[in-house]
């Protein structure tokens, strides 16, 4: 049996890519057709569209009839306030969000790991995943309801600060946007992001704990000297990967939190508004291109860094 397998492989590996070969393997090539077609049409066919960023694209005149303007739109994006602000907003919002939220799933996983009661641990974990399965739209709806004039948060304020406390329209105040955005991001991702750390913690060599114990260390020093160093590679890799998403943004959440009073814009909301709503195709494409290029450069840099530090890389 084994001999046959080896022989088969050798025979196939040595064959030339001939008509006969393709005929023999035809069924596999047929299986690849739907996937190749989907990738070609929906990914590759959009790529030439990027050239719109260097044109004054006119939907009626089409791609070949529109006028070429070179780097004018790219230049405009870095000089016009709307676009520049959106880029700065995206970077600032991501930086602040990562700095505030990154360590929380690690702490949550460490705290959860101390719970020995299986049922309690399992239920807490399951509940912490709940927000991850809600759509951002429903999260936004819940938030509006919670922070409404007659919502729970205002009720709580009245209860704690006494009758006559002014009821605040939280969602209509621009300065509340960033805190609410970060709060919702943490609420949605904290439980789910801890999954990977819990797995890493459960993979720690138990003998190391014993060693610390023999040296007279307590549970706290076990965590400091064994658990944390053991999961450090995971932490570093995830942090680096997170940094790579600095130019990505959460369209659903930002767009959902915008209203008549709050107009915090990030790259994707500007692309949607100027591109699809105002049919300003070239500017919006240029904006998307800048996001894509910066994002790609950052991912590549991050990947090199990750490979250097931990020998783990995406490609």
């Amino acid at each position: 049996m084994k001999q046959v397998t080896l022989d088969n492989k050798k025979a196939a590996g040595g064959e030339r890519l001939s008509f006969k070969y393709i005929k023999k393997r035809l069924s596999f090539y047929i299986m690849l057709i739907p996937g190749l077609l989907a990738v070609f049409v929906f990914s590759y066919c959009t790529m030439p569209g990027i050239l719109m960023a260097f044109q004054d694209y006119d939907f009626v005149k089409g791609f070949f009839g529109s006028e070429w303007v070179g780097f004018r739109h790219i230049h405009d994006i870095f000089t016009m306030t709307t676009y520049r602000t959106a880029i700065i907003n995206t970077i600032v919002l991501n930086t602040v969000t990562i700095l505030i939220s990154f360590s929380l799933p690690i702490i949550f996983a460490l705290l959860l790991n101390e719970i020995r009661d299986g049922i309690a641990k399992k239920s807490m974990q399951t509940i912490s995943y709940l927000p991850h399965f809600l759509s951002w739209v429903s999260i936004v709806a819940i938030t509006y309801s919670l922070f409404a004039r007659d919502g729970f948060i205002n009720d709580l304020r009245v209860l704690l600060l006494g009758q006559g406390t002014e009821r605040i329209m939280f969602m209509a105040q621009p300065r509340n946007f960033v805190p609410i955005y970060i709060g919702l991001y943490i609420w949605q991702s904290l439980g789910w992001d801890s999954v990977i750390y819990l797995a890493a913690i459960s993979g720690v060599d138990q003998q190391l704990y014993e060693a610390v114990k023999i040296d007279g260390g307590n549970r706290f020093s076990q965590v400091i000297h064994v658990t944390l160093p053991s999961i450090l590679p995971t932490i570093i890799v995830l942090f680096i990967l997170k940094m790579g998403t600095m130019f990505a943004d959460n369209f659903d959440l930002v767009f959902g939190l915008q209203n008549a009073y709050v107009d915090f814009e990030v790259i994707s909301t500007v692309v949607y508004k100027s591109g699809i709503k105002q049919a300003n195709y070239s500017m919006a494409t240029a904006m998307g291109l800048i996001q894509g290029v910066f994002g790609f450069i950052l991912m590549a840099a991050v990947n090199v860094a990750s490979r250097k530090i931990s020998e783990v890389s995406l490609w």
């Binding site: 596999f28 299986m31 030439p48 719970i115 429903s138 329209m169 307590n218 995406l314």
Partner: protein, 298 residues
């Protein structure tokens, strides 16, 4: 491993308190909206609702489910989940299986071709122009076709298929079984765990997506539940701010507030989210498995 010292017990007590409060924070917002959905709307308007309905009623849910546009959008959402998932898993599984064949000529080239778009795509506007040109804007197909392939899912399935015992396939081939027959009789039954995992990701992704509708659909007949929910959020927020402004300007005498959109909005959140929340506790192991496979891959 165990630590019985006093200081550790104190820590453990704090740990429990902290984690239980956190759990409540995860749970409370949803319970609050659920209480609103099942509470009498006149009673809700009095305020002070916490995590249980004070005056239980199905009226809000009934009103929502009696609304024609909601029923229609629920149908669209379900159709998208079913058809979209089916199409995507077939496309992705076939690619994964063919690419799992070690000695298939051109395998590396195809993999590379499929991987490039992970890092480099046209972006929203070129997509929009392309979809207009191939006339799938404002059709049901815009919900299905662009999402039929995912490199990430394909790699996950492929990794799994590669781990299956190869001798089984060789034996079937020696018996003269065709590749499609092997696929249906052997590979698919053995791959059920990874199929379940990817199918669940696809279903949740399709159900929760709403921006596809925003970008590419203007026909009311094709709106999804999530999109309808977004519309209600914007409208009721607008209504509420108008009422608020009117009150502040001392015009409240002229404005008769007959119903709050609040209860209906809450009921709509429940209708939109409950299908997933009822099943996720039982399916979470499949999702976690996905996170693990992904991290190993990285």
């Amino acid at each position: 491993m165990k630590d019985k010292s006093v200081s550790y017990r104190i820590f453990l007590a704090f740990d429990y308190i902290l984690l239980i409060s956190l759990t409540l924070i995860f749970l409370f917002p949803y319970l609050n909206i659920m209480a609103k959905a099942f509470n009498d709307s006149a009673d809700t308007a009095l305020g002070g609702l916490t995590f249980y309905p004070r005056s239980f009623t199905f009226q809000n849910i009934k009103t929502i489910l009696g609304d024609k546009s909601i029923v229609n959008s629920a149908f669209i959402s379900v159709a998208r989940v079913v058809i979209g998932t089916l199409v995507a898993i077939i496309v992705q599984f076939l690619s994964a299986y063919a690419l799992s064949v070690q000695d298939l000529k051109g395998r590396r080239a195809v993999l590379f071709f499929m991987m490039i778009p992970m890092f480099f795509t046209g972006g929203l506007i070129p997509q929009f122009i392309l979809y207009s040109k191939i006339k799938i804007i404002n059709t049901f197909w815009v919900y299905i076709l662009p999402y039929s392939f995912s490199f990430y899912n394909m790699v996950i399935i492929r990794t799994y298929i590669k781990s299956l015992p190869q001798s089984l396939l060789e034996a079937a081939r020696l018996d003269g079984a065709g590749e499609f027959r092997i696929l249906v009789r052997i590979i698919i039954p053995l791959s059920m765990p990874v199929i379940a995992t990817v199918v669940l990701w696809l279903m949740v992704g399709y159900w929760n997506d709403w921006s596809t509708t925003l970008y590419f659909v203007t026909k009311k007949r094709l709106f999804t539940l999530q999109y309808l929910l977004m519309q209600v959020i914007n409208e009721s927020e607008r209504v509420q701010s108008l009422i608020q402004q009117a009150i502040e300007q001392g015009l409240s005498g002229n404005v008769k507030i007959q119903t709050t959109p609040e209860s209906l909005k809450s009921a709509q959140v429940i209708v939109t989210t409950l299908p997933i929340l009822c099943v996720y506790p039982f399916l979470q192991k499949y999702f976690i498995k996905g996170v693990m496979i992904g991290s190993v891959k990285e």
